[in-house]
Amino acid sequence: MADKTFEHDDPMELVGHTYPVESQQGHDRAAAQTFIEEYALMGWPAARIRGLFDSSEYTACSDIKRRQGEAFVDDLIASVFGVSTNG
């Protein structure tokens, strides 16, 4: 199939859409804040939540760290817990 041309009526054709975003950092901030606060309310400590962003097993979290950098994640966690997780 990969060497055939696209056929618009093929329901199995692999199709992907992206949704336009105005501010990538703004969306990443909202998503990361959700992850951090959801786990904080479940009683997870800051260091354990930080681990989600370090592991590639957790795609959403690690993608945000890859795009925005470690300081971005550390600052968000610190803003919830009031403590730094980067050492």
Binding site: M12, L14, H27, E37, E38, L41, G43, V80
Partner: protein, 397 residues
């Protein structure tokens, strides 16, 4: 709003809350339903439960866009919300437009709708973020850099079902004991008016029997016929199978006028009426659906207001900074197959203080206890459940 049948005909109503913030689209609910009810010839394209990725996906394709567009065409420029939430019983806000019932003359058709094409019922995950196959030479999808979320859907067992109103054979009925909407297969002649009328597109035609089928709410479990719960009501398969613990289902008492009875210690009443953190999907359709959603907090508000009404801002605000009681009740999601009819909270010590939305929030390790229909304790869970990590080398046989 005129409706073909009397309201308040049910003593209890099947209802549920789905917390979208926690759905991971594992489709376990989908397969639990499929393997229970729709695995026979003629049911291949039938997914009573589905999980679609918003804003990309939909099943049948573009169902919500098409339904909203039909209403807009029927009432150009008039489909608007009053931004103020005035009625406590309508926490989603006041809708000033027309519903699917009001957009028709009531004679030639009972509810505004359309019949999806066969093509639209196929490939339920098309346009979503799933690869459907692995081509030999490899391929790639564009990375989702923006927002998206997973929307789990079943029949809403509406208080004013459009499917029921539209059936020319009166083959669809709403059970008085639990509000579950069913199709009498003996009376149904497959005219598919229900498929056309249901704005959520949860009535589906089966070509092998030439009848319509839909979610039956796992009524044998709801009736307590499963021996596992000693004759007390049990949650449906899709709810009990939920891996992400996003679902809580139950039966709420209904008053004679069709409104929910005041039961502040019932978990669903507490989430929907007291705390108002869960809202119905597209309430502007006017069918009064009974599956409620805690909205995803990271999604642009314009999109959410269209989907849940203007009350969505307050719902998210309350979910982001939960009250002590709300945080406890949220722990009841998916802790037992028993249907929970009442909860009680035993207060525990303060365990942490975090900052949410720039303001401190105290977290208490309270214990929430759930009781079944007969008042027996069936769930006991803490806000901070203790976790145990296995050692690196697992025991193996």
């Amino acid at each position: 709003m005129d409706y073909r049948h009397e309201a308040g005909a049910t003593q209890r109503q099947f209802a549920a809350v789905f917390n979208i913030n926690r759905c991971i689209a594992c489709q376990t609910c989908t397969m639990a339903c499929k393997s229970t009810w729709t695995h026979s010839p003629g049911q291949e394209l039938m997914w009573w439960n589905n999980v679609e990725t918003k804003p990309y996906g939909s099943y049948p394709r573009d169902w919500d866009v098409k339904a909203l567009d039909l209403l807009e065409q029927a009432n150009p420029g008039g489909q608007s919300w009053n931004g103020v939430v005035e009625d406590a019983r309508a926490p989603y806000g006041r809708f000033d437009g027309v519903t699917v019932f009001e957009a028709t003359d009531g004679f030639s058709e009972r509810a505004l709708g359309y019949t999806p094409t066969e093509e639209e019922w196929k490939a339920p995950n098309r346009f979503e973020d799933h690869a459907t196959r692995f081509p030999v030479n490899g391929t790639s999808l564009p990375e989702h850099v923006g927002w998206f979320f997973y929307l789990a859907r079943i029949c809403n067992h509406c208080s004013y079902p459009a499917c029921l109103a539209s059936c020319p054979r009166n083959a669809i009925y709403k059970r008085p004991e639990d509000g579950i909407v069913l199709v009498d297969q003996g009376r149904c002649r497959g005219y598919r008016k229900c498929v056309e009328a249901c704005p959520y597109k949860k009535a589906m035609y089966r070509p092998t029997t030439r009848t319509t089928e839909k979610c039956v709410g796992c009524f044998p479990r709801v009736e307590g016929l499963d021996s596992l719960t000693d004759g007390t009501p049990m949650e449906p398969r899709c709810m009990a199978a939920c891996v992400g613990k996003i679902r809580l289902q139950g039966l709420v008492d209904v008053e004679e006028d069709g409104t929910w009875a005041d039961q502040p210690d019932h978990p669903l009443n507490f989430l929907i009426q007291t705390e108002q953190v869960a809202l119905p999907l597209y309430p502007q359709f006017g069918t009064q659906p009974n599956i409620y959603y805690i909205p995803p907090r990271w999604v642009p508000r314009d999109y959410l207001r269209q989907m849940f009404g203007p009350g969505v801002d307050r719902a998210i605000e309350r979910y982001e900074r939960p009250s002590r009681e709300l945080l406890a009740v949220l722990q009841l999601f998916r802790v037992t197959q028993h249907m929970i009819f009442r909860f009680d909270i035993e207060q525990g010590p303060k365990v942490s203080e975090i900052i949410v939305g720039g303001k401190p929030l105290e977290v208490f390790n309270d214990t929430v206890v759930g009781f079944d229909e007969q008042g027996r304790e069936v769930a006991r869970v803490q806000v901070e459940e203790p976790t145990f990590e296995r050692s690196d080398k697992l025991n193996s046989i």
